[in-house]
Amino acid sequence: MKAWVGLLLLVTGAVFVLTSHLDVRGDITHFLPDEQAGTARSLSRSLATSELPRAMVLSVSAETPAEARRIARELAAEMRANEEVAWARTGPDPELPAALFDLYFPRRHDFLCDEPDPTPCLQRFNEEEGIREALRDLRRRLALPGAGRLAALADRDPFQAFEGIVARVRGTDPGLRLEAGQFVAAEGPEALILLQTHASAFDSERQAPLLGAIQSAFDRESKDSPAVLEMSGVNRFAVGIESRMQADTVRIGTVSLVGVSLLFLIFFRSPAVLVLALLPGGLGILGALLLATALQGELDLLTLAFGASLTGVAIDYAIHLIHHQTVAGTGRTPQQTARHLRPSLLLGAGTTLASFAGLTLTDFPGFREMGFFAMAGIAIAVLTTLFVLPKLLGEPRAPSPWVLRLAAGLGSGLQKLRRHRRGFAVVPLLALVSGLWAWPHAEWSDDLRGLSEIDPALVAEDDRVRARLSNFDASRLALVSAPDEGSLLRANDQLFERLQEQTGQGVLAGARSLHAFLWDPERIARHREVLNFGPEWRKRFERIAEEEGFRTGAFAPFLAEVAEAPKPELTLNELLASPLGEFVRPMIFDQGGRKVAVTYLRGVDAAASVDALAAAIAAVPGAELFDQRALIDGMFGEFRATTLRQMGVGSLLVVAVLALRYRRVRPTLAAFLPSVTTALLLLGALVATGTAINLLHAISLLLVMGMGVDYGIFLVDSGDEDQALGATLLSLLVACLTTVFVFGALALSAHPALRAIGVTTGLGVMLCFVLAPISWAAHAEGAGPEGAVGPGTKKRGRSEDPPR
């Protein structure tokens, strides 16, 4: 009773700490590589956490375009008042032209010649012929239609330097069409709203209410109109996936709970035993959660879901203990039974820890978190089984006679197969053949999109809305990195020139580069050195202007301005701090002490174009083409390969641990055989059924191998005594069925990722149980001469107390 009270207090305290301190996040970016993983790889994480995925596009259509625009205006006004919305725009920002003017006009002559070597171009402006040519061009352009903007500044900017800056900056805009000053679809009557949220697109807890608020505001504004709202945004997919997963969780949880409860009622006739069996796993999860809270204060939802499935592994330890206490009939106290099983259970847990250790060595913070969480959970669960559970077991109700008969039947049934034990060798050989055949025929799939079940209607809506914009592709970028700001801007200028060449050759349609906003400081300094607007030059300019048909004194403001001391050169920091900073920030990243400039590309579709572009970009030192989709697929492929390698390395590690424990070849191999046989057969089954093997299959195989080794160890350690063997086989059967209910229930998921884990693990664990006797057969052969054993023999040597 004391133990129960202590436990209750402990759990209550832990729950209190967790509810007040643990922050559970649903952030997929946690499963992208961390910042130490190299420029392009870690950029996918930087992009995912940047402002880009926080952008949304809302499209409103109504009976008339004017009505659509009205609703869009009202909706945007409502959304601006929502605290989750950073900004919402229905048209160009009216403040931006003034901000552009204030920042660049005083420095317009720093950006006069956009050429790698600007000197010859700049010298033209110092010479008579060059000035005359520039003024003739101005006069001609001022006479042509559409020269309003130029005319407004002609008396201050006769060389049209600011016009050049404006043209470059305009080249970076997404090219939205305007109707009555509002954004409208490229080819259609829909009014558009561009919106950015404060929260990450993957923060479903904040994004779900925001999406609801947008819909409600739209319903209010369009109540008398048959208008339609369509949306595009990463947040919608994140919220959609999470709500489906939550629905899944309820369904799967119910199936698991009902299945496991029935199983325990059938085998143990007591719901209390179920509570006891779940205790190690529960405390394991609680302990891992407390550890996560203490170390990082937050945990990913996927890690939590994965961690919860650990109950399926940890429950095996409790079942094994309970069965040996109730079925084996040894007359031991629970503490004695625990002591007796300690080597097996510690060895089983140790091999499982070895299986998960590989997860902690990847570049993916999310998988590392899963690995640490699983290891902590398993360690706590096995310690609970050995030291807490026996105190709570008391005198469990005696099992039903049919359970005892089943255990005896399983034990004696296996004994009857003793004379055919050599036949068991066929199974690992078959598995080996299956594995050898499957490996070269396996189809590997690393397409991340295949792992997420996304509502097709949502995808279609997103595509429709995106088609209404003519935007840059955020998944294909040109990157250039350098150790400092100056060399970055220099390299970025070179990259821009390359991209201009590629645009000229039709390889891409456009590039949105930092070059539009800022150049290499040396190029700017060159402008200041070469341009000479001294008194003599000003007199000459006035004379030429009159000769070219301009009014006397027409350029007095220009001449007065160039006579003044120039404003200091524009710096990146000043640019970032200005209202234009919001356009520039997504183009600059800090990456492990280096600065990275990002150029967004448009219209790179054909594979040949991608190759040509990649080659052209790579010619610039420090530059590379970033193809996010290919990169992510590549990363997941790499992770899958790492996982499979980890299975190999982990297997060797497991064998080493087993060898250390048993110090003999036969029991070592015997304990290991079911897991490796299962993995090979599963691989063969996946390939034979035409299943493309992905990262999650690989992780599931790892899990199955971890459990398979446990089964092997338990059988090898149970020895030859009928009752002990029967108890072990029964505990393996219950453990197997429990795992099928816990893991196999994932096969019911609507989410392909969980389904892949469920099917592989469910099938795998059943195979582990069916193949577990291989351990016994391989081990039993060494336990005594073949002819010396037979059915009904009570003692056939003891191997259940292996060396410690």
Binding site: A66, L142, A143, G148, A167, L178, A186, F550, A554
Partner: protein, 202 residues
Amino acid sequence: MATVPKPIASITLQEVMEGLASSPGFQAAFEEHTERAVFAETQVLRGTFILAGPGEFLRVTDSPIRHWMWLSGERLVMADGNAPEVEADREVLRFFQEFALLWRGDLAALEEQYALDFEFGYTVSWPVVWKLELTPRSEAVRAAIDRIFMIGESDEQGIRVTGLDLREAGGDWIRFRLRGPQAPRNEASADLDEIFKARKLP
């Protein structure tokens, strides 16, 4: 003997808009006077203007410089002399789309973007002359254009636009005048038709 004045003819804005909306398009010579503060003298351009339909026109300048511009829906391309054609930026495109809107006869669309002031003049002889003054409602547009004046005439032949005056925000004036007869679009000269065909216009 004193001349007896004819009765004063009248016309409404609605009638002007309906007349423009039903126009099949036309081709006419134009003359454009640009008065800028920086110019010593007014610049005069001459050429041919073809209105091909709603939101579509071609303007070819022959003298004293060679230049053409063509607006078709969401595209505005221009070429200076023999230089290759270039696509206009969004701001210039928007300006000319609004210019094209004036010819469409869509009163509701015009009212959404401009404050309108319509007046007609009475003369002692036909045709009736009219003037529509448009003041941009949008602050952004007003930063570039202060006023637009559309002028035209009406007689038994129908309603015709004869000129557009634009006063820019800086005070400069552009006065665009259509001269001579306005041939219906299907009577466009062969060389301009060639330009249209080359650009796959209907």
